[in-house]
């Protein structure tokens, strides 16, 4: 007899761990403080992803993104910071999706396809975004990149808020 076991699938935990390690590694390039903050999030995210703890996953993901932002504040190179944050988003997305799968279908069920397809979608978004952002930054208006980007991004943020409401 098999009881229902609401654990997330291991595939999701594994993929999330890989993404989180990449994120923490990239954030670490931005300095000890940034890397340290991100590294704090890693165990939380991994434990949450394998143990089915949604809060742990969220806090862990937030710490890794925070580490990436901090790295950016301390002047880390643009591509690593953007890639670190994108990896953190992927890690959180896959882990949280895995926790949801665990709650709804459990660890005994066959879930690999669902996990892999979801992760692929998330990675695609991350890759395209990182590529476009870095591209805009490097080949964009070289005169006053920052001001232009601020305006550009503020507009984008407003759109984002309008969209998610």
């Amino acid at each position: 007899m098999t009881d229902f076991d609401p654990q997330p699938p291991r595939t999701a935990g594994g993929l999330a761990t890989v993404a989180a390690v990449v994120g923490v590694g990239l954030a670490g390039i931005g300095g000890t403080v940034a890397g340290g903050l991100a590294a704090l999030g890693l165990p939380l995210l991994v434990l949450g992803a394998f143990g089915g703890r949604r809060e742990a996953v969220s806090v862990g993901g937030l710490l890794v993104v925070g580490g990436a932002i901090l790295g950016g504040v301390f002047g880390a190179p643009v591509p690593t910071v953007v890639a670190a944050s994108a990896a953190a988003f992927v890690a959180w997305d896959v882990a949280e999706h895995g926790v949801g799968l665990g709650e709804q279908v459990g660890s005994d069920a066959h879930t690999r396809n669902a996990v892999v397809v979801h992760a692929a979608g998330s990675v695609l978004v991350a890759a395209v975004t990182t590529f476009v952002a870095v591209l805009v930054f490097t080949v964009g208006p070289s005169g006053r990149p920052l001001t232009a980007l601020v305006l550009l991004l503020l507009g984008a943020v407003v759109i984002a808020v309008a969209l998610t409401e």
Partner: protein, 420 residues
């Protein structure tokens, strides 16, 4: 079909703001660009509705009429007739009374248009008719921001009607019924067992005259044999509330009582008796004593499928006086009663004494569900033993059945006791 938001992307806007604020305040483009990633994910979460699904779900069962304890493989196949579904989750409604033996009745996958996927799991068959609960289908979009849920009923019941248990033979009490059969009586008549020799009376059949005695002494005398009769037997399964407990092996004690009742009916039908069954509990069931192959099949189906014999506790109030009167009214005169009960309350002793007093010879087959680990369990066990002693004093036969042994073995032991 319901559509709901999962709200899992709630925090993404806040992170975006945080990144932008950090970037602007420190004049660092890198931090600012993290905001771009946040915006991208916010848009991703917003991007799509979960596609309107067009699914064909099928459930196939390896054997819809399995034998008791058989493994039944259930396979659920889902075919996607609509567009691409990135996240499809299925939760099958396993019947309450059945346990999943292997693998999981749940499944998650991504399914392209026109493709189908399937999963299977195994159940262990239990006595009774088991309907599946509706199957739940959950569909999410790529970002999991929205979730559609719907349920689908697929009517594929599993029906498990075990054979009546083979317990060899089941001895009845000596009785006074007047139909020829196999139950020995203390009356003289035709039969096979010697009873007495008496003076010849005109009209006695010539084959019964003791010719040797005539040759020896010149007196006419007639040999009499012990007369044997067919009995009418009703096996009553006690299904009242206190009888819904589990044996140490975790089987419902009702299952053992039903097994005993079926075995008794089968054994007595084999001997040529009329046999019937009844459920004495909130759900009254009655199959009148009869004979024949069809009747045997009717008893088997009734014991397996009727609510009255179901192993889950009844959802109705039990009106003991009413049901007992109904039982007395239904019992044919002189019918013997085989009462299958764990004997876990005192009322049952009164019922049985009543039946015995009204001329129904009662035999009790009592599967023993008591354990002896805690003081409470030991007390219940002692109370049950005292009840058995009371019944025996009232002239009622009791077969105390430790369910770790088989019923035929227990019966053989009990029979030795009755002979003495």
């Amino acid at each position: 079909m319901t559509v709901r938001r999962t709200y899992r992307w709630r925090g993404v806007t806040a992170i975006t703001f945080l990144a932008v604020a950090a970037g602007v305040l420190t004049n660092q483009p890198a931090a600012l660009l993290v905001g771009v990633v946040g915006v991208a994910y916010a848009a991703y979460a917003r991007q799509s509705d979960p596609p309107e699904p067009d699914l064909a779900v099928e459930r196939t069962i390896s054997d819809t009429t399995p034998a008791l304890g058989d493994e039944v493989t259930v396979t659920v196949t889902v075919k996607n007739n609509g567009g691409f579904l990135p996240d499809l989750r299925l939760v099958d409604g396993v019947p309450d009374a059945l346990e999943v033996e292997e693998r999981s009745p749940r499944f998650a996958t991504a399914l392209r248009a026109g493709k189908s996927a399937s999963f299977s799991y195994t159940l262990t068959a239990e006595r009774g008719r088991h309907a599946f609960d509706p199957l739940t289908v959950l569909i999410r979009d790529g970002s999991s921001a929205l979730e559609r849920e719907r349920t689908q009923s697929i009517d594929t019941p599993i029906e498990c009607t075990p054979r009546l248990a083979d317990i060899g033979s089941f001895p009845l009490r000596a009785s006074t019924v007047r139909r020829v059969g196999t139950v020995p009586t203390n009356e003289a008549g035709s039969g096979v067992e010697f009873h007495a020799v008496r003076d010849y009376r005109p009209g006695d059949p010539l084959s019964r005259v003791d010719w040797r005695r005539l040759a020896r002494t010149g007196e006419l005398s007639t040999v009499e044999f012990r007369r044997e009769h067919a009995a009418t037997v009703v096996a009553v399964v006690d299904t009242r509330e206190p009888c819904h407990t589990r044996c140490p092996d975790d089987q419902p004690v009702i299952d053992y009582a039903v097994q005993a009742a079926g075995g008794v009916v089968a054994a007595r039908l084999d001997e040529g008796d009329r046999a019937g069954i009844a459920a004495f509990g909130p759900h009254w069931e009655w199959t009148a004593p009869s004979i024949g192959r069809d009747h045997r099949e009717r008893v088997r189906r009734s014991l397996a499928l009727d609510t009255g014999y179901a192993p889950h506790p009844p959802d109705r109030r039990f009106l003991s006086g009413l049901v007992f009167r109904r039982l007395r009214k239904h019992l044919p005169a002189n019918a013997q009663v085989v009462w299958c009960s764990p004997l876990l309350d005192d009322d049952v002793v009164d019922f049985l004494r009543h039946l015995e007093a009204r001329g129904h010879a009662v035999t009790v087959v009592s599967p023993d569900p008591t354990r002896r680990e805690t003081p409470g369990q030991r007390l219940a066990s002692i109370e049950r033993t005292l009840r058995i002693r009371d019944l025996r004093r009232a002239g009622i036969r009791v077969v105390d059945w430790d369910v770790a042994d088989s019923l035929p073995v227990t019966l053989a032991g009990a029979r030795r006791g009755w002979r003495q």
